[in-house]
Symmetry: C2
Subunit: 233 residues, 2 copies
DNA sequence: GGACAAAATTGAACGTCGTACAATTTTCTA
DNA sequence: TAGAAAATTGTACGACGTTCAATTTTGTCC
């Protein structure tokens, strides 16, 4: 059985030849999962095992020093298997971060007080993520570079952080309440905000003294009100 | 700026052990060049030769199909020499784009009618770059991915497109005339605008029907005026 | 012009990444 | 229980990018 005839990847790039995507029913802001066969379960298990093994090595020797073969060997798995689950090294980082986000975002999102309005909820949400970003600082560059280096295809369900859904939800709410301008398509706003988020993270990573929460505040201010003055010129 | 403890590379990554960066005197919006020894001249010559050879091969066989060894062979140069000038393949793309921008930006910048104000000049400028981006579409993804994958050091004089300087200039002018809010630091605004520019390009690359000029208009609108309504909620 | 230092080039060897593929094993389905 | 689908294995391979010592070119100073 050489490889596969290809369809949509479940976790990374290997196909389970499953449903041809009948417009995913789950529309929660934190995304849906894949089937629950034993096969899928075992697949997730080995994937998680690989991620755990990899990050143990990363913590011990540093990300750059650890090779894919070392990871495979430490996980007691063939190199081909590792690449089956994670086509590139950065995909391991992505998997861990998305897993952590998938666990944290629902609580975070549910905990946002509706009375704050869209702007206030965005602000509270960003401040909450700031703490996480500071903790994951070492791996953020690799994650960001990998995410941004996927301009063409990507978009494949597993390549989304969950942040996009949160933003889309909050902004759509804001538009429904008249707090956010309906002149812009919701997806444009969500994409822009997510991109400004990444940009702010990059800036923060390069700027030693910068407090991330402050940077998020400025970003959000700019996103909401722009930088044009009423008068001038 | 706190990054490089070593001197600034002349073209790519090899250091000529020269001046310890005495705050570059040239502050034109289109950047300054390096010395004009015969050595530097020849270095530039071979670099240009390599870029020309590489792009000839790219045009013939496609970017991904061309290997670094093929480029070196076609340019009649050792592999080590090629890597001396361009440490990674994408650096060839960056070099060409920056060279083209260095040639085009001064004209473009000088041709912006001051009577348009900051917003109008930004708009005119972006529309002008749209034509160029459409022409360079094939290489944009590699360029963008390479640029964004340099979060830590980078910042090294040769890793800037020139766009940042144009933005900084226009926005500083806008702030001086009261057209742009002085609440935001100028460099934050320039960075944000440049990042939104990249984001818009990525979005455009992924969206078949999208007209780049329209996308720039929306982006600029959002940048200037934000997406918050006056009233609401 | 000649000597000497700095920089560029060369060529080859090396480690790693990521791919390809055929063989084997495990799991699902009927 | 048999056969299809999918995951795993192991190996081989092309390409990237690094390293390094030897050589050549270039600039500088006497």
């Amino acid at each position: 059985m050489p490889a596969a005839p290809r369809s949509t990847p479940p976790t990374s790039h290997r196909t389970p030849a499953a449903t041809p995507d009948p417009t995913q029913p789950s529309e929660s802001p934190t995304g849906g999962a894949d089937p629950d066969d034993r096969r899928s379960r075992k697949r997730r298990q080995t994937a998680e095992h690989l991620v755990r093994t990899a990050f143990a090595l990363f913590a011990e020797h540093g990300y750059a020093q650890v090779t894919m073969e070392q990871i495979a060997a430490a996980a007691d798995v063939a190199k081909g298997t590792l690449y089956n689950h994670f086509p590139v090294k950065e995909a391991l980082v992505r998997a861990r971060m998305h897993a952590e986000l998938a666990e944290a975002l629902p609580r975070l999102f549910a905990g946002l007080p509706p009375e704050l309005g869209c702007a206030g909820r965005l602000r509270a949400f960003l401040h909450a993520t700031a703490a996480y970003s500071e903790q994951a600082r070492d791996y953020l560059p690799h994650y960001i570079a990998y995410r941004l280096g996927q301009p063409l295809d990507a978009r494949g369900a597993e390549n989304r952080s969950g942040l996009d859904r949160v933003y889309a939800r909050l902004l759509a709410d804001g538009q429904a309440h008249g707090e956010i301008s309906a002149d812009f398509p919701a997806d444009l706003l969500a994409d822009t905000l997510q991109f400004m988020h990444l940009g702010t993270l990059l800036r923060w990573l390069e700027t030693p003294g910068l407090a991330l929460a402050d940077a998020f505040d400025a970003m959000l201010d700019l996103f909401l009100h722009g930088c044009a003055t009423g008068g001038g010129r």
